[in-house]
Structures are given as structure tokens and as C-alpha cells.
Amino acid sequence: MAISLRIRKRQTPLKLQSGLVLAGALVLSLALSALLLKLQGKPAGQAMLVIFQGAFGSLWALEDSLIKAVPIFLCSLGVAVAFRLQIWNIGAEGQYALGAVGASWVALSFPSLPWYLLQPLMLAAASVTGGLWGLIPAVLKLRMRTNEIIVTLMLNYIAILFLDYLVYGPWKDPRSFGFPMTRQFDTAAVVSKIGESNLNWGILVCVAAGVIFWIFFRFTRYGYEIKAGGENIRAARYARIPYDYLVMLVMVLSGALAGWAGFLEVSATVNRLEPSIMVGYGYTAIVVAWLARLNPLFIGVASLLLAGLRVGVEQLQLDFQVPAAFGQIMEGLILLTVLAGGFFVNYRFYLGKKD
């Protein structure tokens, strides 16, 4: 009989230490990223400082990070709704694209409407197009038992290509000198800025969405049923929870939220529809949702952090000629280390006899 290190699942996951584990995982992923830069012959420590300062070091940088956090936050809230039912919606990127398309269609079609009619209409159109794009994989999953991961992912490619088709073809601005973009939106279609800052009122949409999310899961029956269904599908079905209906509901909500992100991006940030709005916010949103454990407040914090990472890496690109893909590497590493770190929260270690 030998004494060896054994592990056992904890009855209840650790609460206090989980923050510590998260911090440890983040530090590890930063260290690995720095190591990669070092191997490339770049000044690693300085680079990390540039990322941080580029993201949060000045008012301008902080504003930029906040602006980029908006679409990430809304997309992430969306995927979190679906993840709570254990529906793996990887399609935020495509739902965001279609939301942008829907909002742009309204902006380009009804230019004479006043802003207080036009903007709610754009938001509604984005909810419908994004929501329907989310509904397709839900219906296919329920009717045809297809895997929603792959379907949502394929729909991403299709949505992005559809956006390309529009801005290269029928919606192209004849005065754009050949660039693939629609004409600039009229001011009535542009969500205005807050006072003198670069921020826009889209942030208010985020706060509202976050609060509604929280109320929905805390106080409503559907919210409760979604959580119950996500924890144990079998028991939920036994308790007559309308699982099929919930799957469609979460996917529509998920798609609509991503659609809102698309609306705000074309309206408030870019002021037109163009392919450059597709920068992978929908994928970052998945990382954020998982890091934040599907909690809306934490999603807010994590969105700001990962948006800051994007802004910081842009600065790094300028200062040290580091390719933009470095940000992706850091995102992947953060997710992997946090995922592995969960082990130390859910299991305990002890020395025991081998039998």
C-alpha cells in the first residue's frame, strides 16, 4: 500500500478561493503570452505595459475600450442566455452581422423619419433579423436533431458573406470610389454621443439589457425554467418544463441581443454598413460569457477587460509591430487556463492510501 496524491470532487465548489484561482489563471496566461513575445525577440515586459496603458492608460483609451466593450457585452449577454440552457450558440457573430444588416436596411429605406421613430425601428429590425437568424438553428435542432454548434457556426460564415454581398452589390454607395460600403447614415439614424465625450447612448442600452437579463433570470418563470432545464434536461422534462419552447426562446433572445450589438455598431460607431464591422466580437463574446460564468455583472467586467485587450493590442501593433493575431492568442490562452483552473475550485486534493 502506497500513499499518493488523490483527488475528490467537492460537495460544493469553493467560493472564496475561486477568485484566487481566476487571478492565478489570468497571471499564467499573461506569462505565457509574454513568453511568446520574448521568443519572438520583443521586449515582453514593456509590451504588457503597452497593452495595459493602451487600453486603460488615458481617457481616450478608456473611451475606446468602452466603445468596443458595447458589442462584446451585448453579444456575450446573448450567448449567456443560451448557455444557461446548455444550448451552445456559437453564432453570435452571424446574428450580429444580420442585426447590422436589418438596422441598416431601415436606416437606408426610411431616411425621412425623425430619429425618435427611426432608431427604435432600427433596433426592432435588428432584433427581428438577429433573432430569426438564431431561430433557424433552434428549429433545426428540435426538428432535425442537428447539432447547434456546427449549424450556428456555418450560419456565421453565411451571414458574413451575405453582408459582403450587400455592400459589394446592391447596397454599395455609388460615390464610395469602389470601396465596399453603404452610404453614410443620416444623422437621424445615428445614436448620438453623450455630451462632449466620444461615448454614445448605446451604453445605456447595455445597462438596460443587463438589468433585464438579471430580472428575467431572477424573477420570471421562464428564467427559472431555463436555469432548471440547463442543469438537468431529464428532470426538467419530467417536471413538464416546455423544453422545446425554451430552446427557441433562448435562441431568439440570444440572436436579438447580438442583433442589438450589430445595430449599435453600424449606427453609433461606424455610421454605415461595411465589412470592417466583422472583427470577431461574437467569438470574444463566448470567451467573456464563460469567464464571467454567465453572470451579467461579471460579463460587464469581462467585456471591458477583453475590449481593453483589443485596444491595447492595437497599440502594441503600432509600437512593436506585433501582429493583431496576438490578441487572439491571449484570448485563447485566458480561456484555456481559466477552464483548467476550474478544476482546483471543484476538486480537493488529499494524501491517501492506494487500495
Binding site: T146, I149, I150, M154, P323, M330, G332, L339
Partner: protein, 305 residues
Amino acid sequence: MDGFTISLLAAAVQSGTPILYATLGEILTEKSGILNLGVEGIMMVGALAAFLTALTTGSPALGFAVGGLAGALLAGVHAAVCLGFQGNQVVSGLALTILGTGLANFLGTPFVGKSGPGFTALPIPGLADLPLLGPIFFRQDVLVYLSYLAVPLLWLFLRNTRWGLDLRSVGENPAAAAANGLNVVGWRWIGTMAGGFLTGLGGAYLSLAYTHLWTNGLSAGRGWIAVALVIFAFWRAERAMLGAYLFGGVMAFQLRLQAAGTHLPSSLLLMLPYALTVIVLVLASWRQMRSAMPAGLGINIEPPD
């Protein structure tokens, strides 16, 4: 058959080959009970590792092998997170795709547009002159011929060997396999890394034989198509071959339409393979694919007390 159709079918085999390698890899992985959604990232890393090796050593063959090894290594990360740390397999796979794509684009940026040594067509004497089959199947490069061998080998391994049976039983019913004295975690490590090796070869094919040059984002969703094809193929190697060539055909067809200067916008044509993936999944589900899925797929096993 006219020359256009034959050359299209030959192109279908060529552009289907990277998807075939990746699909075979994912079948092997999933048969052991591990769901690896990092195929896209593994292909990208395999493609870059192969390209850089071939570029620096001048040996495409060495590049091909290194591409596979790099794939196995990245798949090992997935195995470590899921098997070592009980991480969620879906999320870990996604993270792997983000990481792998990022790594390849990051390290590959200085080489964008550079061409390197690679494989070219090598007709097999005799077979190449067969009517119809010759020009379609036997005037390809060595790596395509290798994939012809990989299909029956994987089929035989999974079906007729002791080790194949062990690997499958670990994927079907890990508890029963463990009770029979099998090392479940060990077999799943092997399945994941060997699958990653094959997937890495698929990536290597892209940079060494399909393009001969490096571009960022080279894989362009082929990894995800492979994940879908595993379901279409009911986790069987021979059906994977059929599916991969079907997709290769659509990709080749789409390129030819573009080259022919059709009036259809290219963005709509480019949708074809992705739309087909969805259709294929729907068709596969009609045929009760659930019964073919390894029963233990994607579920982590709790360490015993």
C-alpha cells in the same frame, strides 16, 4: 465524360483531401469519447508548422510530418484541459480554435504571400492511364495517395484490431471499459493526440500541396466542415471519404464558376460549402445518426474516489 467534368472531379479529390485527413482525425478522437472542436485551430497550426519546416529545410516530406506532430501537440493541450483538469470539452475545443488560429496567423504574418517547396502531381504509372479513374484519382500528389491508404487503415484499426476495440469501448461506455481493466484516460489521451496528428496532416496538405504558399486564415472554415462531416459519415472512415470529396467538389466547382466569370456574385458562391454543411447535417439526422454516435462522447469522467 467530357474534359471539364473529369478535371472538376480530379479537383474535387484534391480539395477534399485536407478535409478528409481532418475528418479521419476527428473520427478517431470522437471514437475515444473526446469531442474536439479545435479542428480548425489544429489545421491552421499544422499548416503553418508544415510550411515553415518545408521552407527552412527544403523538405516537404519533413514538413508534412512536422505538421502532423504540431497538430498532435495542440490536441494534447485539449487532452490536458479535459482529461487532466476536467474542463468542459466544448469550451476547450473552442478555445483551441481561437488559440490555434491566432498562433498560426501571429507566427505566419512575416511569411504571408511567400511560397515554399511542396508536393506536385505524381501520376502512378499504369493506374494513371485507366479510363475515367486514372485522371480523377491517380494523377494526384503523394499525399492524396497516402490518404487513400489512411482510410482503409483507420477502418481496419477501429473495426478489426484489439486496440481499436479498446479505444471504441472507452468511447462507448467508459465505466464498463474501466471495470474491464482498461485505462480510460490513457486511451482518450491516445485518441485525442493521434486524431490531432491526422488533423494536423490535413492542415499540412493545405500549405504544402493545395497552395504552396502561406496566407493567414488559410483553413477558412474547413476544420468546422470536418467536424460536421464526422456526423454525416456516421463516424465511419469510408463515408468520410465520400463526404470530403463532395465538399471538395463544391469548393472546386465554386472556384471554376468564378474563374469562368459568371454573373453570380462571388460572395454568394462562397456560401455554397457552408450552406451544404447545414443541408448535410439535416440529411444525416434523417438517418438516425444518434445510434452511430459514441455514447460517451463529450462527457468527462469523474475521477474515482
